[in-house]
Amino acid sequence: MVEVNLWSGLRRFTGDLAAVTVEAGTTGEMLDALVAAFPGLGPAIAAGVSVAVDGEIVNGRHIPITRGAEIYLLQRLKGG
């Protein structure tokens, strides 16, 4: 199980939960599990989110997530 920290604007889709716990071994599984638990998150995740795992903003659905990892969803970042 990993705890996923959501940005405030997403709470209206999660019954005001700021953090959601899901079962996931990768970033992709984590995003899918979020949408399964809270379908209202679907459009947000489809629109593109950035994921920070243990303080590092990662790209892609393949990034492994270990138990107890710090996970944040961030609004999508663009390069410069």
Binding site: G55, L77, G79, G80
Partner: protein, 750 residues
């Protein structure tokens, strides 16, 4: 890679070698976007809307097509329909459909046998417009009764009841804001505005595109990312990506503005319609300013709480930014995430609005969003430091984040060098120079995440033991030199024995552009990993020759040598010998790495500027400038300094003079360098630099990426210096003489 695995003693990394493309670039041989020609080439010109917002009733190209030598005209009717999201954005921005959304929006394009003829023909294309109401200012565009630019463009994030031009809403933060402000001794809330600025690269966009009826195409183009050009052109035109081969030219500056397409798909569309003849399109400067991607303009509220000793107790930011008539390009999220990133905050709230306006589609510009956020947040921190009589660097040190601290935007920081940067700033002699009358000193800090991105690098050992490296990130500011240094260091061969080639899309897997300060980090890490693969192969070849276990061979100083129990049994086998025999020992020796290089390291910087303000005219002169920034590791210190200096100069321009000026008719009033005033040589002093090195454990040499952070601090640093010199606080960029004078005359607090 753990921290202790970072190599420290280097032979080449950290030296100031000549860049490999230097000779071509000082002799005029280097070929940039407009320097390419092909046999049978036609020339394209683009017809652009003179209106900020207009329905296109009819386009009549008959007079143009009647001119001898005119070969093709394209309009939106020549492009596929049914695109969605960013693909539609790119297509509609490249060529307007029913509506022109901004002054300069392309509405038609023509190809002819000469550039002059194409221009003449463009003038003969008649467009019938129905002028619509327009809005260009972000605050005006936010009003409920503003002209609606694109109904239904808002995404999931926008709650019911917001004004019609709000297309994205952001809301994030943590902690108890009310308690935070209650714990403060001083709470201040201010509003700030920044105007749109352009990246201002000196090389206009240019390309030669060729597309046959068989769907196969070629493009030669100035770009930060050839694969981005490929997917974007393929999307806009409905082509198969792999059938389009995109070759990047040398690039005359990009700063984020050459990470997308504008007229590139038009050249391909014209070529296809002209029987597959190549079509060259070169923008002029006014097209660059009117119709490529500037950055957003912003309107920002910031509220901060601070105790008497300088501890920040709470922060709130509400930012509104327009990024043109299309969604997704206003960097409001990044601005919010960067604004308070340098500080430990028990409570913080960020609110953002992305707003549509009748302006060109914004593009990335060096640390997108960070300069605006820094301007608002760092100006207010400075104002409060002055009010409380506190030293601005001490206050920043007191609140500075370090490894393990929770960031303002959520995640916990890994290794970062902000405290080291602040300490180096405080110790620098510039911070102690006495100031004269009408002079003031300003300090500010900035942040950029840095970025990795899709990366694919191949390298190969040549027959004589020299090495070639194929990378996909165009060299904008000396990255061939830094990549060459890292590969040579890894191989243990002279720097001159490595050639780094920036290659076309057919030669590697997908690479993201040279953006996000990623070229030296990501292509560098990939190049080192690819080189290690080739080294592994060379060790295996040596082991086979010696008849020992490959595991018992190590690579030292450009040669394979037996290690462990076999140490000293055989003389080292140098790379030239292994390479010379490669054909007999198993064939070519190559290395490759592809993926998303993990381990990005964020970079903080602090700037100190001294200015003098003419109290009679409000004109600001920059007397002294210092950039201190954490590079992680400077592979080529001269080009790291160059990034610091260039970022500072762009930020100085943004702070003092650069802005998009729109008339009441919605037309851009300053589309030439005469009036879009970037800094000239006589405007600036020498820009002093200090490279702080807190190595990034995520990179084999400790690189963080240095390109972007440096543009953020100048905006607030100069505002803070002007406040120190005059007592007047400027909260609306640019700080032009009329604005500064008005603020001075209005009293101490404008």
């Amino acid at each position: 890679m753990a921290k202790d695995e970072i190599k420290t003693p280097f032979k080449l990394v950290g030296t100031r070698v000549p860049r490999p493309d230097g000779l071509d670039k000082v002799t005029g041989r280097a070929r940039y976007g407009a320097d390419f020609s092909a046999p049978g080439m036609l020339f394209g010109a683009v017809v652009r809307s003179p209106h900020a917002h207009a329905r296109i009733r009819k386009i009549d190209a008959s007079k143009a097509l009647a001119l001898a030598g005119v070969k093709a005209v394209v309009t939106r009717a020549d492009f596929p329909t049914g695109l969605e999201g960013e693909k539609w954005n790119l297509q509609d921005n490249a060529m307007a459909g029913d509506v022109a959304f901004y002054d300069g929006h392309a509405v038609a394009a023509v190809a002819a046998t000469s550039a002059l003829l194409a221009k003449d023909a463009a003038k003969l294309i008649e467009v019938d417009y129905e002028i619509l109401p327009h809005v260009t200012d972000v605050d005006e565009a936010m009003k409920p009764d503003a002209p609606v630019i694109r109904a239904g463009a808002a995404d999931y994030s926008v709650p019911e009841g917001m004004p019609p031009n709000v297309v994205r809403y952001l809301d994030f933060g943590h902690g108890d804001l009310e308690a935070g402000f209650a714990a403060a001794d001083l709470v201040r809330e201010r509003t700030y505005k920044t105007e749109a600025t352009h990246q201002g690269y000196i090389e206009p966009h240019a390309c030669v595109g060729q597309l046959g009826a068989d769907g196969k195409g070629e493009m030669w183009v100035t770009t930060q990312g050839q694969w981005y050009v490929r997917w974007m052109c393929a999307a806009v035109l409905g082509l198969d990506a792999a059938q389009l081969r995109v070759t990047p030219s040398e690039i005359g500056g990009g700063f984020g503005g050459k990470t997308t397409v504008f007229m590139e798909p038009l050249s391909l569309a014209l070529s296809r319609k002209a029987g597959g003849k190549p079509v060259k399109i070169v923008m002029d400067r006014s097209e660059v300013l009117r119709a490529t991607g500037p950055t957003a303009s912003a309107s920002m509220d910031v509220k901060l709480g601070m105790t008497k000793d300088g501890t920040i107790t709470a922060a709130r930011a509400e930012f509104r930014m327009q990024g043109g008539a299309y969604t997704g390009l206003s960097p409001v999220g990044e601005a919010l995430q960067c604004a308070f990133a340098p500080y430990k905050l028990p409570a913080v709230s960020h609110i953002g609005y992305e707003v549509l306006a009748n302006r060109p589609k914004a593009a990335a510009y060096r640390a997108p969003g960070s300069p605006m956020g820094a301007f608002a947040a760092e100006s207010l921190i400075d104002e409060m430091c002055r009010e409380l009589g506190l030293d601005p660097i001490e206050v920043r040190l007191k609140n500075a984040v370090t490894e393990g601290d929770k960031s303002s935007y959520g995640p916990t920081f890994k290794s970062i060098g902000l405290k080291e940067v602040l300490a180096a700033t405080q110790a620098h002699p510039n911070y102690a120079v006495p100031l004269g009358p009408n002079q003031g000193r300003g300090v500010a800090t900035g942040f950029w995440f840095n970025y990795n991105g899709d990366t694919s690098v191949s390298m190969a050992i040549a027959e004589d033991g020299t090495a070639q490296v194929a990378v996909g990130t165009p060299d904008i500011g000396g990255s061939r030199a830094s990549l060459g240094l890292m590969v040579a260091e890894t191989l243990g061969i002279p720097y001159e024995h490595v050639r780094v080639n920036v290659v076309e899309t057919g030669a590697l897997g997908v690479n993201e552009p040279s953006h996000g300060s990623r070229a030296t980090f990501a292509s560098g890490k990939a190049a080192v990993l690819a080189t290690q693969e080739a080294i592994g192969e060379m060790c295996r070849r040596a082991a086979a020759e010696w008849g020992i276990d490959p595991e018992a061979v190590e690579w030292v100083d450009g040669a394979a040598q037996p290690s462990g129990p076999n140490a000293g049994k055989f003389p080292p086998m140098p790379i030239a010998e292994i390479a010379g025999n490669m054909s007999a020992t198993g064939g070519p020796i190559c290395g490759h790495w592809q993926g998303l290089p993990e381990g990005v390291g964020a970079s903080f910087g602090t700037h100190v500027v001294d200015v003098e303000v003419d109290p009679e005219t409000g004109k600001t002169t920059v007397l002294r400038y210092l950039v201190v920034q954490d590079a992680g590791r400077a592979i080529h210190p001269s080009y790291v300094e160059g990034q610091y200096q260039g970022g500072a100069a762009q930020g100085i321009g943004w702070a003092l003079n650069e802005e998009y000026v729109y008339g009441t008719d919605g037309r851009l009033q300053n589309p030439i360098f005469l009036d879009y005033r970037i800094p000239v040589a006589s405007d600036l002093p020498m820009i002093d630099t200090v490279i702080v090195e807190v190595p990034n454990p995520g990179h084999p040499f400790g690189v963080r990426g240095v390109g972007e952070t440096g543009i953020a601090p100048p905006l607030p640093a100069i505002a803070n210096a002007i406040a120190a010199a005059t007592g007047a606080r400027l909260r609306h960029l640019p700080m032009t003489p009329p604005k500064v004078l008005a603020a001075i005359r209005a009293g101490a607090d404008g």
